[in-house]
């Protein structure tokens, strides 16, 4: 029967099918070799320990080691600190900027939009170097604050454990706020203006409009941006690597930064690095699921 049905297909259809498969095959083969295979292999590696290619099966050894690894704890703490402080600030700021840019009376909208979006398409290495100079001990920012009389001693942005963390938060907020604002602008454009008109007639203030119209109607977009931002923050790497290189004394190191060190800066421990990566994946999955739950309520 099968044979028959196969034969029953017209030659053209068959040809089309083949073409389709050929189209997909290249891309799928590449994905399988360069994405799926490494993912599966990393899973295997997570249960191995050792250096370089001299690996042996370690069972849960890597995960036990993680529980005692002070640097890793620091990396987790830092990453979650960035996440908890930076993501809400960035999303709220993005929302505010987006609604300001939606103002009907605003002129040069295009210019502002471009200016807001520009940071996130700047090369991270280039802007890291610039920001490093601005926030140097005797850099522009400290000089400005001193001249204005706001501080008497320069803030050691790159040498102090607390301020270097703040610097990272400032930097990633600067870079990614515009990116998120773009999603909100797109979302806002889909909201029927008549709703706002009706609200105006009812005498709603701008805060109330934000609370009762904009926020609820943008919920899917806010959900999307908060998930991508969470994932992005958990994978934070270049900013920290380029600005502080995890220092001073690992005060700003992120999980990805630590994974990099374990893999490439120190004598390679691919097994341990994979185990950490696996835990990050699980955390991202849990956080995303949580956010979906919260977002889907009502």
């Amino acid at each position: 029967m099968r044979e028959k049905s196969k034969i029953a297909k017209g030659p053209l259809e068959k040809k089309l099918n083949r073409t389709g498969w050929m189209f997909v095959s290249g891309a799928s083969a590449l994905i399988i070799v360069f994405t799926f295979y490494p993912v599966v292999d990393a899973l295997r590696l997570a249960f191995m320990s050792g250096k370089g290619n001299q690996l042996s099966f370690a069972g849960m050894g890597n995960f036990q080691r993680m529980l005692q690894d002070e640097t890793l704890k620091k990396a987790f703490f830092n990453t979650f600190l960035y996440l908890i402080i930076q993501v809400p600030i960035m999303l709220i700021l993005g929302l505010i900027i987006a609604s300001m840019l939606q103002n009907k009376d605003l002129r040069f909208k295009g210019l502002f939009r471009t200016a807001i979006f520009l940071p996130c398409i700047t090369s991270s290495v280039a802007y890291a170097l610039v920001l490093k100079t601005i926030f140097a001990n005797e850099g522009l920012f400290n000089t400005l604050l001193t001249k204005c009389g706001l501080i008497s001693e320069p803030i050691l942005w790159l040498n102090d454990a607390f301020w270097s963390k703040m610097l990272i938060i400032i930097v990633i907020t600067w870079r990614w706020t515009g990116y998120n604002a773009m999603f909100y602008i797109a979302g806002l454009q889909n909201i029927e203006p008549s709703i706002y008109e009706a609200a105006d007639l009812d005498g709603a203030g701008s805060l109330q409009k934000m609370r009762y119209i904009t926020a609820p109607l943008l919920r899917p977009v806010i959900l999307f941006t908060s998930i991508t931002s969470t994932i992005g923050t958990l994978q934070l790497f270049d900013e920290v690597k380029n600005i502080t290189n995890g220092g001073p004394a690992n005060a700003t190191i992120t999980i990805s930064g630590y994974i990099y060190n374990v893999c490439f800066s120190y004598v390679s421990e691919f097994g341990y690095a994979s185990a950490i990566a696996l835990v990050v994946v699980i955390i991202i999955a849990i956080l995303s699921a949580l956010q979906m739950r919260v977002g889907d309520k009502e």
Binding site: S49, T244, G247
Partner: protein
């Protein structure tokens, strides 16, 4: 329609074909390719165009003149890139794309020798161990076999600003072979008299710790290169105390990175610099300070037996990757240049300020040159004399990994934490680092 379909097919085929093309072997390796049939091509990797790479290019000129059948391709790339590529290529046992000759830091090479045995070639036959300072060779000697050819060594010295010290009432003689506690006392006076900091500390840089450890003949690990030697180690304990005393005395200037440090030197923010000999090139970039600098031995640790006024910090050596084609030619290249040609090494003293850790045998005439920048002091002669005193220590394989842990724990000590507790913490954390196999 037809054309479109044809195009689609072609595209799909191209995509499918791309795969074997990408994954397939790039036939042989960089090293095996020959531009001209009669020429053997070898490659070498190094970082720092003004120092390592420049030396390599000069060696290439010399060697190619003698061996017209060999072409050496010098590839300059950053230290981080070299390390990352070696780590991954060795682990994957994929030697395509690796060079014949590679420069590796002495602190790091133990990892390659112990974790990837067989990757780097045994060069015992081209190195005469008696010609070199033993502390240099020990970094890449395993079971009596020498795997590298020494390049630069960083014997340490204390560069100081004569004018600042004079303002505080000190002459050069007051700085000769002092201890760290004397150094700190002088530093306080200098700070008082001139407002200038005595020393610098760069974030993420544990140079001083390594200088202190080697000056007293100890390291994070014991002679076996594996077992840890941190908890209860009197040298590291005192080194931490030196750090704390320096900071408490308020005579240390903090820099966030290397660039700021260089700027600080050029601004005249520092009264002394305790570092490897290669820093002299950086100091000399401050041309307006010519004649104001001089050199003395580094301070010695007060309470540690066997501590000397000499140390070493870092340095690199040349290696031959054994499994890349033409390794014999690469070995011969090193043999005839860096391993034996003292005339060439002597030339490099002037060209790049190389201190090679080759024992003085009369051929290093350039060591005798007076340097006007340092008040006509023969600084290389001094370095060569101090190099004889440098204790030999085992670097193990995890120096950089342990450095990061030490830096974290050092912060707790600087904030008033107990040093013994910090040392125990470092040891137990370092013990978690994965073992070989």
């Amino acid at each position: 329609m037809r054309i479109r379909k044809l195009l689609a097919l072609l595209l799909a085929a191209a995509a499918a074909l791309c795969l074997p093309a990408c994954g397939g072997s790039t036939s042989g390796s960089n090293a095996g390719k020959t531009a001209d049939e009669s020429k053997t091509e070898i490659t070498a990797w190094a970082w720092d165009d003004n120092f390592n790479v420049k030396a390599l290019r000069l060696a290439k000129e010399r060697y190619e003149a003698e061996h017209p059948d060999v072409t050496l391709t010098v590839i300059s790339q950053s230290l981080n890139d070299v390390v990352q590529k070696l780590n991954t290529a060795f682990a994957a046992e994929s030697y395509d794309g690796l060079p014949n000759i590679v420069l590796i830091e002495d602190y790091r090479v133990g990892g390659y020798l112990d974790v990837f045995p067989g990757s780097l070639r045994d060069l015992s036959s081209i190195i005469n161990a008696d010609d070199w300072m033993p502390y240099k060779l020990s970094a890449f000697t395993r079971d009596g076999k020498i795997y590298g050819v020494p390049f630069d060594s960083a014997v340490c010295g204390m560069f100081y600003r004569v004018d600042f010290l004079e303002q505080a009432g000190y002459t050069g003689e007051d700085l000769n072979n002092i201890t760290w506690s004397e150094y700190i006392e002088i530093g306080k006076k200098v700070k008082e008299a001139t407002g200038v900091s005595m020393l610098e500390q760069t974030s993420g840089d544990l140079t001083l710790m390594k200088i202190l450890m080697q000056s007293a003949g100890t390291w994070y690990v014991n002679e076996d290169n594996t077992s840890l030697n941190i908890a209860g180690n009197p040298v590291i304990k005192e080194a931490m105390q030196v750090y704390k005393d320096l900071m408490d005395a308020g005579i240390v200037m903090n820099f966030p990175g290397w660039d700021e440090k260089v700027r600080g030197i050029q601004n005249g923010d520092l009264a002394t610099i305790v570092d490897g000999c290669w820093i002299s090139a950086t100091i000399k970039t401050a041309e307006d300070q010519s004649g104001k600098w001089a050199l003395k031995p580094i301070p010695r640790m007060d309470h540690v037996e066997g501590a000397v006024n000499a140390s070493n910090v870092g340095g690199s050596s040349w290696y031959v990757v054994d499994k890349v084609a033409n390794a014999d030619v690469a070995e011969n290249f090193l043999k005839e240049t860096f391993a034996s040609d003292t005339g060439f090494l002597n030339e490099l003293v002037n060209e790049i300020g190389l201190f090679s850790s080759h024992k003085s045998d009369g051929s290093f005439t350039n060591y005798e040159a007076q340097d006007a920048f340092f008040g006509n002091q023969k600084i290389w002669e001094d370095f060569a004399a101090w190099a004889e005193l440098v204790p030999q220590v085992p670097y193990g394989i995890n120096t950089y990994n342990i450095d990061d842990i030490v830096e974290e724990e050092l912060q707790t000590v600087l904030q008033g934490g107990d040093i013994d507790a910090a040392l125990s913490a470092i040891e137990s954390r370092a013990a978690q680092i994965g073992q070989i196999g």
